[in-house]
Structure formats: C-alpha cells, structure tokens
C-alpha cells in the first residue's frame, strides 16, 4: 500500500513539474541571444555588463541573454542549433574555427557594416584574415593572444642573468646557468614547454623561414617537410631536449599551467613559454615575475609569435541581425578593448596597442593556413602527433613527411 502511495506521489510530482515547466514559456519579447565562451564570464564580466547596458540604452525594449559556452562543446551545440533553427544572434568563434563555417555559409555578410565597428581600419591583420572569406567580411575581431616567456627573475638573477636574452643561443646559455644554480629540487628544469604545444613549437618553424602549408595550383601542399621547416623543427627538438623535462614530451599545454613555475619554491621550472596572462597566476611570487619575448635564432630579433584569438560572427539564419551588429559594436568598442587588454589579452586593433610585450608579440605573428578544412587538421591532432614523434625519437624529416601527407589528405577534401 505504502509503495502505491509513494509511486502515485512521484507520478503526480512529475506531472506537476511537466505542466509547470512547459507552461512557463519565456515571454518572447525582444531578446538578443549571445554565445560567449566562459572565459568572458571568469575573466572580464564587467566588459560584458558594459556592453549589455550600453546596448539596452540604445535599443529600448531589448534584453540580452548571454549564454556561456565551453570550448569543447560549443561547435556541436552550434551545429545542433543550426539544425533546429535555433541559432544565437551573436556567437564567439575561435579564429581557427571561422573558415570552415564561413565556407559553409553560416555567417552573415558584414562587409558593408565594417565602418560601424570601432577601430575597424586598424584591426589586427591576423584576426581580420580569419574573419574574411572570399573577400567578404563575416566576423568581427574580438581579442587576441600571443605567446611569450614568463620567468622567475630571482632564479635568473641568482645565476647572474639580469637582462633578458636577445638571441636563442643566448637564451640557451642563460638557461644552462640557471639550471646549474638550482639544486635539491628533483626534476627541476630551467625551462618548461609541453612537447606538443604546437602554438609555441611552430614559432621555431617560422623563425627559420618555414611554413605549415601553402596553396598552389588549386591544391594545399604541406610544407612541414621543407628544408627550412625541418631546420626549425630540429632547432625546436634541440631546445626542448636540452632545457625542458623529457617527461613532458607528449604532454599538451593544458598541463603545465603557471604553477609549474611558481607552485613552490623554486617550483619545477624557472621559465615557461605560454600566453601573456600566465603572469597572473603567480601567487606569492608577483614581485619576482618577469616576461620577455622568445628570442629568435637571429640575434636582436624575437620569434614570430602565434596569434590566437576569437572573432564574433552573426549567424545568417538569425532574424535580429541589426541588433546583433549593434551589440557587437558596443562590445568591441575602444573602452572595452582596453579593458580586455588590462587583463592580459591583446586588443583587436593596433591603434590600441600600448607597447606591452603582449602587443609587441602580436605585431609579428603567424597564423594557420586559411583552408576550409584546417579545423580537421587541428582536431585530428596531426601536428601534435608529429611533435610527439619528433621528441620521442622519430627522425625529424620522417615525422614531418607523415604530417604533410595527413595534411594533404585533410586539407584537400571537397
């Protein structure tokens, strides 16, 4: 008897819930749906709030519903939304993700509205290129990030190094000195890089004049096995094996995290190659944190830096595109971009640069081939696999040739 009552109660509750939740349909007054990555929520919530407030003032009667996504699933959610005719009005896309979706016709053409966005004539070339397809602008640069070296000034100065090195060879010498001065820490290495961190590793390739892939005679051709690229990869292998922990040969850059440098005293490494915001998470070691640009093998220059970043697109199926553009223009105005810069990002326009190291690195940057299927190469981990192979014994040229073969396959799909 008791069980019948319990069962009936549960069923009634369930029914009640169903009725309640279906009945409370959201009032379809004017609402703009914006998909941003969760980085905005944790890193710069005020910027989002400013943009929303300004937008609402300029568009009375409108609400903004910001829905935060994570990098791992946001494209699948976008695909589902497209299929279900439920697209957001604005969506943040990684700059390497844009090309495939632009080629498929996912985004609205913003070319004629370019002038309405702040600083559009000074937009970073790298980001603008990632937002353009067949000559049409289909995205608005949001922000960028570069790579540089974050290091412990105290460990460097105790080894007699008081100024950042100006060439790769000098860096190696300095790292050798730093390493010899730190004793008693098992597994300590002067430098930390994750072996398969291709954002950092491929800077070596570009530094020696190599490239990832080129487009000629209507086909993409992988260039990682070219002489110059191989020279760069070999330099990378030497650098890694000489100064980074070998146990990190197959790890990716999600693993190190700044604590590797700063976690304890003296931590596991004295320097780490990563995004500019690595200097944020230094805990008690704020006063002994410094940064410098990764020096080139050519003395006096710095290596070309990877330019990561995000763009904002307006899905073509959206019905509120005018308001979407309005929100984006508020979100990417100068004040907000400056605020983004303050928390360690690179703003989307060169006229906003403040000569910080981050911005300097962004001036000389490399980017992935703007191929429709580039994103398949990334998700297939072709380059990471190549780097792991190189660092665990496969001859450089052989590993590079394998990577080129995979890329030729993937990039030339219809």
């Amino acid at each position: 008897m008791r069980y019948r009552v319990i069962a009936a109660a549960i069923a009634a509750l369930a029914l009640g819930v169903v009725v309640a939740t279906t009945a409370s349909a959201s009032t379809k007054s004017h609402t703009l749906v914006v998909w941003l990555q969760v980085d905005a929520k944790t890193g710069w919530p005020k910027v989002v709030a400013n943009a929303t407030a300004a937008f609402k003032k300029a568009n009375p009667g409108w609400n903004v519903n910001v829905q935060y996504q994570t990098w791992g699933t946001h494209l699948q959610n976008f695909d589902a939304a497209i299929a279900g005719n439920n697209v957001p009005d604005v969506i943040e896309m990684g700059n390497t993700e844009m090309t495939k979706y632009m080629a498929a016709g996912a985004f609205a053409n913003l070319t004629s509205y370019k002038g309405k966005f702040a600083n559009s004539s000074h937009w970073l070339t790298g980001l603008t290129n990632s937002s353009t397809y067949n000559g049409k602008l289909e995205g608005v640069p949001y922000y960028a990030g570069s790579r540089l070296v974050t290091y412990r000034t105290d460990l460097f100065s105790q080894a007699g190094v008081t100024k950042p090195p100006t060439s790769l060879a000098a860096l190696e010498t300095d790292l050798g000195k730093v390493g010899s001065k730190v004793t008693g820490v098992p597994g300590f290495t002067p430098f930390y890089m994750a072996g398969t961190d291709w954002y950092s590793a491929l800077s070596f390739v570009f530094d020696y004049g190599g490239s990832i892939a080129t487009f000629s005679k209507g086909k993409w051709v992988g260039q990682l096995a070219s002489t110059k690229s191989v020279a760069g990869l070999t330099a990378y292998k030497q650098f890694f094996l000489g100064y980074s922990p070998h146990s990190a040969a197959t790890l990716d850059e999600a693993n190190p995290a700044p604590y590797t440098v700063y976690g304890a005293n003296p931590g596991r490494a004295a320097a780490i190659f990563g995004p500019g915001w690595y200097s944020c998470c230094t805990g008690n070691y704020k006063n002994v944190t410094g940064q410098f640009l990764m020096p080139s093998h050519v003395p006096g220059q710095h290596m070309t830096s990877w330019l990561g970043g995000s763009d904002l697109g307006v899905p073509k199926q959206g019905h509120q595109q005018a308001q979407a553009r309005s929100w984006i223009s508020f979100f990417t105005n100068s004040a907000n971009e400056k605020a983004l810069q303050k928390v360690g990002n690179v703003p989307n326009a060169t006229n906003l640069f403040d000569n910080s190291l981050n911005d300097q690195a962004a001036k000389k940057s490399w980017f992935v081939p703007t191929a429709k299927h580039w994103v398949d190469v990334e998700s297939g981990n072709v380059i990471r696999h190549m780097l792991a192979n190189i660092l665990t014994g496969t001859p450089v040229k052989q590993a590079a040739q394998q990577a080129d073969a995979s890329m030729n396959n993937l990039l030339n799909q219809p």
Partner: protein
C-alpha cells in the same frame, strides 16, 4: 559462535582494504577541496591538510547559479526517475510474469534501444525537441525537454534490470498469493512489490545517478544561465582557456555529490539482506 568471530574479523579487514582502495580517489577529491593553492601545487602531496581552508567551498557556493542549477537538477532527475520507475515496473511485471504473444518482440525492442549509441542521436533529438511533431512546442531550453530525454535513456535498462529482479523471486510466494483468490495483478503488487523493493531501489538509484551526472544532453539542451543542470555549471571550471582551479573544482564536485549520497542513504535501508526469511517460513 566463537568460530565465527575470527572469520568475521578476517572479512572485516579485507572489507576495510577494499574501502580504502575504492574510496581513495574520493578522499583525494575531498582533501584537495580543503587545501590551499600552495599545498595543491607543492612538490610533495599533502595527505591531510593540517590547516584546512574553506575558501574553495565558499568560492564554489558563491559562483553564480549554484543553488539554481542544483534545484534544476533535482527537479529534472526526480521527475525522470519517478516516471521511469513507474513505467518500467509495470512493463517488467509483464515481461517476468506473463506469457503473451509479442513478448519476444518487446524484449528485442528493450534491448535494441539500449544498443543505440546515444551520441549519434544528438542532432536528430535536438531537432525534434526544437519543434515537437503534432504538439508543435519548443522544448529546447526547458527542463521538460531534458526530462523527456532522460526518461527515454533510463527506461529500457530499468525495465530490463527490474525484470531480472522479478525473475529471481521464488515461485511459491506468487502461488501463495494466487491461492488467496486475488487477481493476478493485485497479487503481484501486494506480494511482489515488497520483495522486489531492493531491486527497485537499486535500479532507481542507478537511474538517479545516471541522470544526475549526465552532461552532453544537459549542455546541449539547456543554454540559459541559471536554468541549467549542475554538471553544466561544473563544466565551466574546466571549459575555459585559463588554467584549472583544482581546489575550486574539487570543492564544487564534493558539494554536488552530497545530494546523491543523501538520497542513497535515505533509501538504503530498503536494500536489506534476508527480507524473504519471514515470507517463506510463513
């Protein structure tokens, strides 16, 4: 009696060993939740944080929408499990105790449904929920949509598991009920229900946990902040580009596990040993 004691002691030691090995990751999660960042990142692990900090927990609770998402999850899961258990029990009784034409077909359906790779259905399910045929409503973004998905995902296995429990019940007990002159189904409910209660509870706990911990569909269907489930809320700790806040993640995970543990402890008395002794003797 005296011969039993050392044997029980031996089993107890083994039991404690099993507990330690199984629960170590849980212990590690909880202890990390109480550690400061320095202790978490230190070169040698800290086993028991001597100066535990509640900072991670307060951080987690104050992270926006913690309470909202927790309540949403409770609603979704209780509704889905409740509906699924009622429907599944009925069908399991039919499968285990009746002989009818088409029974084999139904069994094939039940098993077949569980063989479908769920992630293959993501887009078709989303499209259907966005514009439900016949009813014409949009269930995307509503808790009901997720309840619907969860019911369909635990229903088949619940039927199957409950059938197994029902089959294990000795026949005399059913025969005894039938002799009483009651209808067959009435006998089943009065006699079988208490007997299968342990199985019912075990199945409902599993359904509860499966739904509570589900992420892919919750993340897909519920996008609005404050109207999501707790697993989606949790995923934000590791979803961004910045480094993982291990202490916060572990504290949040500990908090999320608490309702599940409470639910189980409330119902665990039903999974008792030797419920049948009295019935068989009588």
């Amino acid at each position: 009696m005296s011969r039993r004691l050392p044997r029980k002691l031996g089993w107890n030691v083994v039991g404690i060993g099993v507990f330690v090995v199984m629960a170590f990751p849980v212990f590690w999660m909880i202890s990390t939740a109480f550690k400061s960042n320095e202790q978490i990142n230190s070169l040698t692990p800290t086993w028991f944080p001597l100066h535990p900090t509640l900072a991670n927990f307060t951080g987690a609770i104050h992270k926006p929408y913690f309470a909202d998402d927790l309540i949403n999850t409770a609603i979704v899961v209780l509704a889905a499990v409740g509906i699924a258990m009622v429907l599944a029990f009925l069908a399991a009784v039919a499968l285990a105790k009746y002989r009818f034409r088409g029974r084999k077909l139904f069994v094939v359906l039940i098993i077949g449904v569980q063989m479908i790779p769920g992630i293959g259905l993501i887009i078709p399910l989303y499209v259907m929920l966005a514009d439900v045929p016949v009813l014409g409503i949009n269930l995307v973004g509503k808790l009901t949509g997720l309840i619907v998905v969860y019911v369909s995902s635990v229903l088949a296995f619940s039927v199957w598991t409950l059938r197994g429990f029902l089959l294990g019940i000795p026949k005399e007990l059913e025969e005894a009920a039938m002799v009483d002159g009651s209808t067959r189904f009435g006998a089943f409910v009065r006699i079988l229900l208490p007997l299968v209660a342990p199985g019912l509870v075990a199945t409902s706990v599993f359904a509860f946990i499966t739904c509570w911990n589900e992420y892919i569909f919750a993340n897909l269907l519920l996008q609005q902040q404050g109207h999501q489930t707790i697993t989606v809320w949790l995923a934000e700790y590791t979803g961004g580009e910045t480094y993982t806040d291990w202490g916060g993640l572990m504290a949040a995970s500990t908090l999320i596990a608490v309702p599940v543990v409470i639910f189980f402890l409330l119902v665990q008395r039903k999974i008792a040993f030797g419920l049948t002794t009295g019935a068989v003797k009588g």
